[in-house]
């Protein structure tokens, strides 16, 4: 006798006391026997279906990698930032950019360089990291050039940059004697041993 396809799995065949596979299989719900979907190594196809029905505006925000809209070719983080507005191109690489960022936002960067040039002009020789030393050369030279000119306008410009006014006045007093003949290159950088705490490459920068 064939097994009755019901939820019960009791053997209806009175002749045998053993379970038969066919009776078990037929009595179980059909969904269990289907193959389970494979783990999320591939994008689930189910998610992409709502997107044609609900077009959301994502024009100016970077594409969030957590929200997978199923866009093809989304490989790396930088690809989400290709925005063209009024001619300013933003590239993924650093080609040709010469301003050292020093791992700081612009206001902090300016303050750091102002502080470093103030201290160098005050002490004559300081020890700092190589990146900061080579970034501050330009600004130290600029201050010494202002002092070489010596006019009131240049003095006020220097006062707006250097944090301590005695240093500006001392600079304007001694620079004509000290750097009168030298054209540029008022600093010297000497590389030295790395810092113990974080192995940062260090350098002395001094006024020549």
């Amino acid at each position: 006798m064939a097994a009755i396809p019901m939820a019960t799995a009791t053997p209806t065949d009175s002749m045998s006391r053993v379970w038969s596979m066919s009776s078990l299989k037929s009595s179980l719900p059909s969904a269990v026997t289907c193959r389970l979907p494979s783990p999320s190594s591939r994008r689930p196809v189910l998610v992409s279906s709502p997107s044609p029905r609900l077009p959301s505006f994502s024009g100016l925000s970077p594409v969030n990698p957590l929200i997978s809209t199923g866009l093809p070719g989304w490989q790396s983080f930088e690809d989400g930032f290709k925005i063209i507005d009024g001619g300013g191109r933003v590239y993924a690489m650093r080609h040709g950019r010469r301003v050292p960022k020093l791992n700081r936002p612009p206001d902090q960067r300016k303050a750091l360089l102002r502080g470093l040039t103030t201290q160098l002009l005050k002490h004559g020789r300081i020890k700092t990291t190589r990146a900061r030393a080579s970034a501050m050369r330009k600004f130290v030279d600029k201050m010494i050039t202002l002092a070489k000119d010596g006019s009131l306008h240049k003095r006020r410009q220097a006062l707006g940059y250097i944090y301590e006014k005695q240093i500006v006045h001392a600079l304007f007093a001694e620079v004509p004697d000290r750097y009168g003949e030298r054209n540029g290159g008022y600093t010297r950088i000497i590389r030295t041993l790395p810092r113990r705490g974080d192995n940062a490459p260090m350098a002395y920068i001094e006024l020549v």
Partner: protein, 175 residues
């Protein structure tokens, strides 16, 4: 070996500020405690309170040498108007020995830099004979070149320098 442009003495500005170019001919080993001084080494004032152990090379015990220790960055590297300050002067050092065998005519004064990073230079000159070098009248405003010319010491035979800055920060007020 002669001093080329990449030599630490040239890079550090010692040749130019303190000395002329010279040819190194004698070994000079300066040791503060356990640390041997190499060019451009950073040492704290607390480590150089006592005089170092200096050993010089050479072969003939009849040659005598003079050791001078100066600081060209007094009072501050940005404004060195007291250049240079004489810290130590030992004469009549026989070759292959050390400063213990010499005549210390200016006693060792431990450097205490107040502002900035100071270079401290140790220079070795060869004397023509014994007891030909005398002490200067005072320590600041010392000029190594004039001193060498005055006592016919000629060019140096060895030199080493190291850096020293004050132990604790900028010394109180920032301005």
């Amino acid at each position: 070996m002669s001093v080329n442009n990449r030599d630490p003495l040239v890079v550090g500005g010692v040749i130019g500020d303190v000395l002329e170019r010279f040819t190194r001919s004698i070994d000079l080993r300066v040791t503060y405690g356990q640390r041997e001084v190499t060019n451009g080494l950073d040492i704290r004032p607390s480590q150089i309170i006592n005089k170092p152990r200096v050993e010089i090379g050479g072969e003939d015990l009849r040659n005598f040498y003079t050791l001078v220790m100066v600081d060209p960055d007094v009072p501050s590297p940005s404004n060195p108007h007291l250049r240079e300050y004489l810290h130590w002067l030992v004469t009549d050092i026989p070759a292959t020995t050390g400063t213990n065998f010499g005549n210390e005519i200016v006693s060792y004064e431990s450097p205490r830099p107040t502002s900035g990073i100071h270079r401290l230079v140790l220079v070795l000159f060869r004397q023509l004979g014994r007891q030909t070098v005398y002490e200067p009248g005072w320590r600041p405003q010392f000029n190594t070149r004039e001193f060498a010319a005055l006592y016919n010491l000629g060019l140096p035979v060895a030199a080493v320098y190291f850096n020293c800055q004050r132990d604790n920060g900028c010394g109180g007020r920032r301005t």
